[in-house]
């Protein structure tokens, strides 16, 4: 950059800001194409929506409470359906607002679904809500499955955005989906704690392998059902049950020493945990024709991650058992901690 250009930009900072600009809003949208369907998750600041739709702010406090938001949902939905438009091959896809909820930190999260006639070759977003929002509002639009830096910045005079579609539709290659599976298990602390609880009291290899296989078979089945959208239990029920399963394993560790029949419990618990993995797979919004290979890749990633964890966990436990102190107290103490973690997660998931 030349010196004069630098000075040119610098002078912008020297002038007084006596005549201030307006407060400016920022919203985000995550758009996922799956076959002929586009799912959009939009996030706005509540106070900006309150200003844009003053009749919804019944107590006129400049914010939208959950009650006000619920009452305003029909009107807000009507406006959103007119102003957030997905066009597939030149035709607008019929849309619907599937959720609208207040979220932490002054936010509102809105879920929308657009059903196009067929998988599009050309897909465009028309975000025409700017006329209702604060001047200068920016909408950060991102398509699921594309790199984070592929985010588009939309504003009033640049309100259209071409999404990747057809053969360019973002899926992620199978290697990256495999990697996502590994990451998912390694960062799923509740599953790791459950796994520790399962293997904590086992001494012989064969019953341990049967146990882990039963757990794996269980979660592979339910994971597949959830990922294929065949069975999608309410996460509000599944997640607390997963927490309870962790607490239960901890309690049982105080009572049993024989693992020969534990696989019978590991299997249904595996089913529970698999539904949790299914949600992560659905986030990828993979097109229907690539769903099976992607599902397989993700599942293999999860299993690879689990094997890696066991490869560290089992030798570590065997080593620790050489110490009399661990033999005497270690299992009980660790099981107690597992119970505490399970109960804690249960409370958090029910109350939170």
């Amino acid at each position: 950059m030349t010196r004069w250009l630098r000075l040119f930009f610098l002078s912008a900072l020297l002038l007084p800001t006596l005549v201030g600009a307006h407060s400016v809003g920022l919203s985000r949208g995550e758009y996922a194409l799956a076959g002929a369907q586009v799912q959009a998750t939009l996030a706005f600041a509540r106070d900006e929506l309150a200003a844009a739709f003053p009749t919804s702010d019944q107590d006129r406090d400049g914010d939208l409470s959950e009650q006000e938001l619920a009452a305003a949902q029909p009107d807000l939905s009507a406006v959103l359906l007119q102003t957030v438009v997905i066009e597939a091959d030149g035709s607008a896809c019929p849309g619907s607002v599937i959720s609208l909820a207040a979220v932490e930190g002054n936010g509102v999260e809105i879920g929308m679904r657009f059903e196009c006639a067929e998988p599009p070759q050309s897909l465009q977003l028309r975000f025409e809500l700017f006329g209702q929002l604060s001047f200068g509002h920016r909408h950060l639009a991102h398509q699921a499955g594309t790199p984070a830096d592929a985010t588009a910045v939309l504003f009033e005079t640049e309100a259209r955005w071409q999404l990747a579609s057809g053969e360019h539709a973002p899926v992620g290659d199978n290697a990256s989906i495999f990697g996502l599976g590994i990451t998912h298990i390694l960062t799923g602390y509740d599953h790791l704690v459950f796994l520790l609880g399962l293997v904590l009291v086992g001494r012989r290899l064969t019953p341990l392998l049967v146990l882990v296989t039963a757990f794996t078979a269980g979660h592979m089945i339910s994971f597949g059902l959830a990922a294929l959208d065949m069975v999608v239990p309410d996460p509000g029920i599944i997640e607390p049950l997963i927490a309870l399963s962790i607490a239960y394993v901890g309690v049982e560790n105080w009572l049993v020493r024989d693992l020969s029949h534990r696989w019978m419990l590991a299997f249904p618990f595996g089913l529970l945990h698999g539904f949790g993995f299914g949600g992560a797979m659905r986030e990828l919004a993979v097109p229907a024709d690539q769903l099976l290979p992607s599902l397989l890749s993700f599942n293999l990633g999860v299993e690879a991650g689990q094997i890696a964890v066991l490869a560290v966990m089992l030798p570590a436990l065997w080593c620790l058992r050489r110490f009399a102190v661990f033999e005497q107290y270690g299992t009980q103490v660790l099981s107690g901690l597992i119970v505490v973690a399970g109960v804690g997660w249960f409370v958090e998931r029910v109350v939170g």
Partner: protein
């Protein structure tokens, strides 16, 4: 215990059976930082300049370019882009003073005055000889209502580096304190430093000079200066607004309408739509005026609650809302104009005593703005303080008889009424002496 596995299995399959396909709400927003997208947006004002996200200096230049772009395009959204660049630079180099300064200007323009003040204070403490940091601090101090500190800080900035920005800032502060001659002297000094490479900054400063003459009622000088601003930057919205204000005062509403429509197209401001409505009303087009007033409200609701409050109170459209908006705005800033808006909203609501307190705060610096004086006078009359009330109204009309067509007419009518009341009171008290009906200076 042995039945437990069966029980759990039954529960799980039961869940499968009774579960409905819930809407997929799991596609949570990307947690990836949007900063790089905002900073390096394809609409980058630096044109072909490639932004190196690993280079703090490069990011700072880009941030400055966005600020410039925001001013030129009259689009505050570009400050978000600038802020993103500053944040990225600060992530690389948290102590970088240039990046902090860009961040500070973004905070000011996005109305986070407290945040800007804290940042500028840190910056000044760290680099006390950095003139531009003092400028930023002075702006934040003024917005937070600390006039004396703002003046002292600007004085330090002038001592360190007396450039156009420092002189313009000092001029405004002097004017706020009632020193019109000092303000003109300082703005003249600012104009000496105009840079042809930066026409927007020059035009902004010229308009500030024009405003000094407008507030003093010198229509001819103000108009000539606004024209000069338009020579620096053709179509500059603030200059067009200034010229329209003069044209309306000179009885040429059509000329005002043409300028305001052009200005509004480029920069939609409450005050522009408001004045357009006044001009249309003056031209006898009540329907268009009503539409413009509605437009002023709509613009205000899109992010400028202070001017919206001013408009609602001035036009007596919704004093309750005006007061609520002014109170909300006072949580982020405090200045004489905000006090004046509160005063006028309270007056409209008939809460005269509170209105007077607010109006007195608005006039605490002695700001020579006819609107502030008019409001104070009207409030005093409502409180039966006829002598002080008429004096303020006379001062307002003497300062700038054209400050606002509707308000000036109201002020004149109030003076006539006050005079009439005073005469009637004298007569009913048995005083046979008939005073001169006109107050000195009234209607001038």
């Amino acid at each position: 215990m042995k039945t437990l596995p069966l029980l759990v299995t039954a529960i799980v399959f039961g869940l499968m059976g009774c579960s409905e396909k819930v809407a997929d709400q799991s596609a949570s927003l990307s947690t990836a930082s949007p900063r790089s997208a905002l900073c390096t947006s394809s609409k980058s004002p630096a044109g072909s300049m490639a932004v190196d996200l690993g280079n703090a200096e490069n990011l700072i230049e880009q941030g400055r370019a966005w600020i410039k772009h925001a001013r030129l395009q009259s689009d505050p959204g570009f400050y978000l882009n600038a802020g993103a660049c500053a944040d990225l630079a600060l992530a690389l180099d948290p102590a970088n003073a240039h990046a902090l300064e860009v961040r500070g200007h973004v905070l000011m323009n996005l109305h986070d005055f407290a945040g800007a003040h804290a940042l500028a204070t840190t910056l000044v403490a760290r680099e006390p000889t950095r003139a531009s940091a003092h400028g930023l601090l002075a702006d934040a101090e003024l917005e937070l209502g600390d006039y004396d500190r703002a003046l002292a800080t600007t004085q330090r900035q002038l001592s360190l580096h007396p450039d156009m920005g420092a002189h313009a800032r000092a001029s405004y502060l002097r004017w706020l304190a009632g020193d019109q001659a000092g303000a003109r002297r300082l703005i003249t000094a600012a104009l000496v430093d105009r840079d042809p490479q930066d026409p927007e900054a020059a035009a902004w400063t010229v308009v500030e000079a024009g405003n000094l003459y407008w507030h003093a009622g010198d229509l001819v000088a103000a108009d000539a200066i606004y024209q000069e601003a338009l020579r620096w930057l053709p179509g500059y919205p603030s200059a067009l607004f200034g010229r329209a204000r003069v044209a309306l005062a000179q009885g040429e509403p059509q000329r005002a309408i043409a300028a305001l429509e052009k200005s509004l197209q480029q920069k939609p401001l409450v005050e522009t739509a408001w004045l357009l409505g006044d001009a249309q009303a003056a031209a006898g087009d009540a329907e268009s005026a009503a539409a413009s007033y509605l437009s002023a409200e709509k613009i205000g609701r899109r992010g400028d609650r202070m001017m919206l409050a001013s408009f609602l109170a001035a036009k007596d459209r919704n004093a309750d809302e005006a007061l609520r908006l002014a109170d909300a705005e006072s949580r982020t800033r405090s200045n004489v104009y905000l006090d004046d808006i509160r005063a006028w909203a309270l007056y409209r609501l008939g809460r005269y005593r509170e209105a007077l307190d607010a109006s007195e705060r608005a006039l605490r610096l002695g700001t020579p703005d006819a609107r502030l004086l008019f409001h104070n006078g009207a409030i005093r009359l409502a409180l039966d303080d006829t002598v002080a009330g008429t004096r303020k109204l006379e001062q307002a009309l003497a300062l700038n008889p054209h400050f606002d067509a509707a308000a000036a007419a109201q002020a004149r009518a109030m003076l006539v009424q006050a005079d009439k009341n005073s005469t009637e009171q004298s007569l009913s008290a048995g005083d046979v002496e008939i005073p001169d009906p006109a107050f000195p200076g009234a209607g001038s």
